[in-house]
């Protein structure tokens, strides 16, 4: 019993220490956003790898997401005689929840793990230490650019995922019935309001920020062993995914408070 108590206290201690370290790291990274020098070229390079290289994955996933969601929902809507409400329902599902969360999880899997592994490898090979010794600020050059890139690019990727997801839904509907693209988008946007779009967009900014931040933190704080590279990559994915759901939960609560739904 005493050992269990010690175990729980130790776990809580480690958890809160980790949270504290992440918060401190967050503060340092945010400070770097506003401190010179601003590494624009590195930001472009990271943006290219995070945005352009992830787009095909996001596009395919988004299309399949809209297609499958429509095919799965249609029989139920047909049973209720509410087939005409299907575009609106799919649009709300994709834009408000599924698009941002699925995109963020994919980015967590691809980008956060990539950043964690890359920075972990740099840490193991002492490149980060070398940068510090040579006067370059690794937090500014390596971390801040990646975090800023994910913060900007993840919402952009979500826009693509939403749009392609709606096209997937349109394709699924056209497999079963004839509906024009104009009518589909008219019905889809009839059900939407700013209360659906704005909170969803704001939370994707937080998703992007934490995907980059957690990946960077896990890589930046990796141990010296080579196995730390894999561990930091794995830990980055798990933690980022968990944080995405926590942010989503908080976003829903705040949206409910503001918009009343």
């Amino acid at each position: 019993m005493e050992a269990l108590k010690e175990n729980i206290v130790g776990s809580l201690n480690r958890f809160f220490t980790e949270v504290g370290n992440i918060l401190l790291f967050t503060g340092q990274v945010i400070r770097q956003f506003f401190s010179a020098p601003f590494e624009f070229k590195e930001l472009i390079r990271q943006g290219y790898y995070i945005g352009n290289k992830t787009l095909p994955l996001i596009a395919i996933t988004g299309f399949i997401m809209g297609l499958v969601l429509t095919l799965q929902s249609r029989p139920v809507m047909v049973d209720f005689g509410a087939e005409s409400l299907l575009p609106g329902m799919i649009a709300i599902s994709i834009i408000r929840e599924i698009g941002p969360v699925i995109t963020a999880l994919l980015c967590a899997g691809k980008i956060s793990s990539g950043i964690g592994a890359e920075l972990g490898a740099m840490k193991v090979t002492e490149q980060l230490d070398a940068m510090e010794v040579s006067g370059a600020k690794p937090l500014n050059y390596v971390v801040a650019t990646r975090v800023m890139a994910t913060t900007i690019l993840v919402p952009i990727l979500v826009f693509f995922a939403d749009a392609i997801g709606l096209f997937g839904s349109f394709a699924a509907l056209n497999m079963r019935e004839d509906i024009s693209l104009r009518l589909f988008f008219s019905q889809a946007f009839d059900s939407l309001s700013f209360a659906d779009v704005i909170p969803a967009t704001i939370k994707t900014v937080f998703f992007g920020f934490f995907i980059g931040l957690i990946g960077s933190y896990k890589g930046y704080t990796a141990d010296r062993g080579t196995e730390s590279v894999g561990l930091s990559a794995n830990s980055a994915v798990v933690t980022a995914s968990l944080v995405i759901f926590i942010i989503d939960l908080i976003a829903v609560q705040i949206s409910e408070l503001i918009y009343g739904f």
């Binding site: 472009i44 390079r45 943006g47 290219y48 945005g51 352009n52 787009l55 209720f80 005689g81 509410a82 005409s84 409400l85 900007i152 690019l153 919402p155 952009i156 990727l157 826009f159 693509f160 939403d162 749009a163 988008f185 946007f189 009839d190 939407l192 309001s193 700013f194 209360a195 779009v197 967009t201």
Partner: protein, 316 residues
């Protein structure tokens, strides 16, 4: 090296297209809620808004023309609903238009429906107020439906009783359905009607062939000519008769109103008396003349010179 140079271009395209998608979505949503077009406000009072909230659509004749901008409770039985409506449709919304809270389909969200008014009332003004129609409650609909079901049950019961009576043979309708003799009579009547039709057909055939008086009358053109001639003669005679009648009319008028002999003869009593007296006197005069002539004939002087007595004696 060129690949490195193309990175900013590709990234720029990605970000631009992504932002464009977002802006398009925002603009489309904004245009749906009339954020980018000029609007005016209409208000209406309801006793119950049935779940209407800000952002619900406003429709005029089935077209989405605006959104609900505010729903406020102003007293314990009155709710003020404010609507932002597109300025372009203001000319079609009349002051006597009526506002109702409806639903998009059976399961859709609530919306405000503006029913058209009369052109004489004129267009509604900004901040104008429209009369409301209380929304139909689903519970009321269920109660109405229950009444209809009860009525239908009574009707079906009455129909059941009627069908039982028909099956049992009660009443004229039942006899019509169950009694075979009526059918037989109807069949016989049908046969007779058929025979009559056959006869009529035969007659018409004969008439067409020109057989019989009627056939000749119908087919022979000489008879038609004669009839036409006779009719013309009759017409002429009629015209003459009219002329004679007119003459007679004039004559009778002259007789009645004129001063001629005939008029006096008919209407003057004094003249009639004179005429009577004259006739009497003439009669007497004739008698006197006859008597005088007899006397002369019997006179011996004449007989002497005429030898008449000799002839009379010889004749005897």
């Amino acid at each position: 090296m060129s690949k490195i140079k193309s990175r900013p271009l590709k990234l720029g395209m990605l970000v631009s297209i992504g932002l464009l998608l977002f802006v398009m979505a925002v603009y489309y949503l904004g245009s749906k809620q009339n954020l980018f077009s000029s609007t005016f406000t209409i208000t209406s009072h309801f006793s119950d808004v049935k779940g209407l909230v800000e952002g619900n659509k406003v429709r005029y004749s089935g077209i989405s023309v605006g959104t609900v901008s505010n729903v406020t409770i102003i007293s314990d039985s009155t709710i003020l609903v404010e609507m932002l409506v597109n300025e372009k449709v203001r000319e079609f919304i009349r002051k006597d238009s009526r506002v109702e809270i409806g639903r998009e389909g059976l399961m859709g969200s609530k919306m405000v429906i503006i029913h058209p008014g009369s052109p004489e009332a004129g267009s509604v003004e900004d901040q104008g107020q429209l009369a409301s129609i209380n929304p139909v409650d689903v519970q009321e609909m269920v109660q109405e439906a229950r009444k209809i079901i009860d009525d239908s049950r009574m009707v079906s019961k009455a129909l059941l009783e009627m069908s039982e009576k028909i099956n049992n043979g009660d009443g004229d309708l039942a006899r019509l359905i169950n009694d075979n003799s009526i059918t037989t009579k109807l069949s016989k009547a049908g046969d007779e009607l058929l025979a009559f039709t056959e006869n009529a057909k035969e007659i018409s055939t004969k008439v067409n062939r020109g057989e019989g008086d009627l056939g000749r009358l119908v087919n022979d053109t000489a008879i038609t000519y004669e009839l036409t001639f006779t009719l013309n003669r009759l017409r002429q005679m009629s015209a003459r008769a009219d002329s004679v009648t007119m003459e007679m009319l004039l004559f009778s008028k002259e007789l009645n109103e004129g001063n001629g002999v005939l008029n006096r003869l008919v209407y003057d009593e004094q003249m009639a008396q004179h005429l009577d007296t004259t006739v009497i006197k003439a009669g007497r005069g004739i008698e006197e003349v006859a008597r005088t002539a007899e006397t002369i004939r019997e006179s011996w002087i004449l007989n002497l010179f005429s030898g008449r007595n000799k002839k009379d004696k010889q004749a005897d």
